[in-house]
Symmetry: D2
Subunit: 340 residues, 4 copies
């Protein structure tokens, strides 16, 4: 049994990590830490009553490291970077759900996140944890930079057409919609308020200004082979979970619906968690919530030289905790879908 | 007091017409018709208990015409066109919420709606009921083709930039999101199920294939002065009411945020129901639900030659019944916002 | 025009007071106060954009009194009692939505609310603002103690049977369910989070221990003519608005459904806002949300000597702000339903 | 591997059976039947895409029996009784989620369900599938009458006090609240509408007239040792899943909170799925949704001789499909919580 530590257990992603890892047959949760007063995790999350009996409290890296083989950091950016070196020095593997090690160019990171990076020498050690693209590196990684939810939904949707060199890369428009849990738990709020939802409130925010943009640009550029800058508008949907991205791509190659579907199906043919939908079928977040799947639908308009790609994920699962567990499975040679 | 008839009272738009007109100081609802068995309207909608006492049943145009000065048709397309001539011949004014008289080119109508138009000679008599653009014509109209909800949200968002000749009109992408009531009441379902909502289900549909497209193209082309074909993906949001459109426009003129905001504020300066938001503020459907307002936010990216315009309306109010009442107010010389 | 002040404008009830009074034809909102940094009320509530232009900030009683004829206090208990004397001394009328002047026995108040009452001499001046029972006193009142939401829904449901001396008063069970807005706005939370909702979370709280209990007992005892202690379990429903109370009453008199319905219809025959439903019809919160109505359904089981009475109100309207405006209408001789 | 058939796969309980059994390590779903046109189950439920590949269509008992060792009937009452004999004759075990075999007195069944029972001789063979009370019989059963959701939530809540002979059994009031899925899938509705929810609509229905009443009375009477008739008002909550019952019991024995909690904890000490909460803690449906747990909270008012017991379950899991799988686990000697 692999011993697991979770830091940041009081947030949404931390809670979902507990939910998923609790039923994973090869691991045991040994430590749950959070910046809160001592409380049993099953008091913090009463659904754990009778299922997990662990004290949750503020712990340092040393204490967590002693109990665990691998640690998940479900922490805000900046906090993660202060802990990672200590774990790696003790030969513990780290799966970091924050943004601290995702951006390869430290200047870009520092500009967008408005903090000084405290251990830039670790950035290169980090593997971007998108298994569909970096599986071989993940197998040997000590430090995973687990992708953001929006980037996951957008990169998976764009990649096959980009690889095919079919896209006018300067034209990409990503219109993304996220369930309210994407905003994170409101600090200072009682734990019982964990599943908040705003009624009849649908709104855009951070128009072309969201911190996930440099991450999207970096990975889309890698895939494209040259620099890409996407346009990106995130929106909040009055539902708990789920994320849908509608991506508009100008085509520079002749391609029709049949060819495009074949392209996508071939591209992802070995990927259990990617489901390319039939022609005329579009994704719906309700088919992926509480799962690690990414559903992809697409429609080509040859006369307009336009491709519209739509992807659906659960922002907390494939967009965070599920993907983190998928990475752990790869790192330890477990079946990739184990526990998911 | 103006005597009002409502046909199609059993649908969402019909119900909202009753809600709005009930408190309008200058009108009296005299007939409510629907293709259902006789029932008092206050049994069909128990919230009307003690407030409106009228039998709701299947009625012909003649019967409704006898009781009313003006009739609102909240009916499916094809049904409206079978009733309009009878009302107009009797000198009754008609505000038609269906699509039957919105499209000026009867061939386009017949292609998209897959029916033969039964009275194409009336199309030219119809005025497209978007007061911000056709107020003078509405004043004298006998027949109003009340706009669709998606077209309302998109035309109002695009117009100032289009009029300014600032847009590369071939590039327009409209990503629209509508509350579940936009889908209409499910036929055969009990009236008590009127406020349905799907949880955690967010999905696109009719990708570049929605029947509102020719209507959008027609009006956007009028404003632009030459033919425009927009790209349009509608989505369903798991909330009852509200519609948000995010519109991406490629700019062919130098323009910055300040100039663009001034342009929008000037363009709509006499329009009570259009609220252009400050720089950095974006619309939220919760600020417009149950009102006739359209909130518009925008953000310009000069270095990308891109404008992103976001509009929020209540799909059932400014997108249907409220706009219909606004049209009635204009037709009869009432204060334009009376009862709204 | 009557000049209105609202203190506590940043809470749910305060917001609903603004919403209702804004369209009232006989009043003008002149001051809105809240314990927050200066902000225009239309920035705090963007739905007010273009409709109300007033600075909202922390104000003292003197400043508010200068601008207003009548002031609504939508404040927490204890805060209200510190302001009421100042207003009354300046001959301003006060409608207090807090609990500070509802309980006639100051010892009971101090025990349940765990504070010392600072001006017990004003308690007797206060009229309990339930118009269906205290209309004549309200007409002449200087200070209204506006009822709590749970008490309103329960007292209105019990009264006719109690007056008829048909109830074993020791047996009353009140099982009440309230929309999430009943919990009040979470302090310190951004105003944009105002319409929160918890999904799939339905729970009881303060079982036979809610502060509305002494208020219910007091009024039910007045009606009954002798001391009554009800049993009362409140629950939170994952919806924004609405309150349903299911009341179980042991009967000590023979009575059947027909007689009971006649009793209720007669009892409330002059009350516009009370709608006694037909036999076999039960209330639904969706028929009363955003209205000042109280719908009452009942069912008698003679063989079990049991009456089950069900009432539905909007907790923020008939349960708070709407009833407050109804009281104002009565105090100033306006039509009782004006603006409601 | 045990081969499983599910009849009635197109309803909510059927869908939840598929969801649970899909991940059960000891079984394989071999047949899914429903009264619908042939369709792959992963088209009917797109979340099954890539996970289960079976044709779903109208099948007779013979065809299903050939493929399966055990069959789950998630069918309406009356339909189940027409199929059960065929399965039992072929030595297949049946877990029936309908009401057809729950009521031991066939006259009571026929009166409440308004149909003639077609195979009353099988009623005695059926074991009422509430493991906490009938575990030994379930082990040897050929036919399980899986309990209704309301009865499950009420019986589990009442039992310890009843067994203790502490309750005035004539006084029991059960005020129950169920998520909208309890109403079953609306016939004729598209499968995409499967997760409907009504906003701001909370209402009682079938006041003391619900078909679960004779089932509750039967089991509560067994436990009590003499005839009990409870009072029961069900309500619909605008949420997808979850059921909360608030039960009011008049006490005829002296008992306090501490003793009562000890009584409940002892009573259920070997029951993994029953969680008796600490004093002062009350159940919340959000802690049990998507689980097979029943959370029980209680509060005693000795001076009022009153106990208030509150239970929370997921109406589709412990109230239907989860309990059915728990029964299967017991019948086949699997670990009782396997797959749950």
């Amino acid at each position: 049994m692999l011993n697991i530590g979770i830091m940041g257990a009081s947030g949404y992603a931390g809670e979902d990590l507990v939910r998923i890892l609790l039923d994973h047959p090869k691991v045991q949760i040994k430590a749950v830490a959070a910046k809160i007063d001592n409380i049993n995790i099953n008091k913090l999350y009463p659904w754990l009553n009778g299922r997990l009996d662990l004290e949750c409290r503020d712990m340092g890296a040393d204490e967590v490291a002693e109990k665990c083989d691998v640690v998940f950091l479900a922490l805000p950016h900046k906090v993660s970077m202060q802990l990672v070196p200590a774990f790696l020095k003790k030969k513990k593997k780290v799966i970091d759900l924050s943004a601290d090690f995702r951006i390869k160019d430290v200047c870009v990171y520092e500009k967008w996140y408005e903090v000084k990076h405290e251990c830039p020498e670790y950035i290169d050690k980090a593997v971007y944890g998108l298994p569909e693209f970096y599986r071989e590196k993940i197998k040997k990684a000590e430090l995973i930079a687990n992708p953001g939810c929006y980037p996951t939904s957008i990169i998976l949707g764009c990649a096959p057409l980009l690889k095919e060199k079919a896209v006018d890369a300067g034209s990409i428009v990503c219109d993304s919609k996220s369930g309210a849990s994407g905003a994170g738990r409101v600090p200072g709020q009682a734990p019982m308020f964990i599943e908040l939802q705003k009624q009849n409130s649908f709104r855009p925010y951070k128009v072309n200004a969201h911190r996930h943009m440099p991450e999207i640009d970096q990975e889309v550029s890698f895939i494209n082979g040259s620099r890409v800058e996407v346009n990106f508008v995130p929106h909040v949907v009055p539902m708990e979970r789920g994320m849908l991205s509608t991506i508009y791509l100008k085509l520079k190659k002749q391609i029709d619906d049949r060819k495009a579907h074949k392209l996508y199906k071939d591209f992802y043919k070995n990927e259990y968690f990617i489901r390319v939908l039939e022609e005329g079928v579009y994704p719906d977040t309700k088919n992926v919530v509480r799962t690690n799947f990414c559903d992809i639908g697409l429609k080509i308009f040859p006369e307009r030289s336009l491709a519209i790609v739509m992807t659906a994920i659960d922002n907390l699962v494939k967009g965070a905790s599920g993907q983190a567990v998928q990475n752990m499975n790869i790192m330890y040679g477990f079946e990739e879908k184990m526990g998911l």
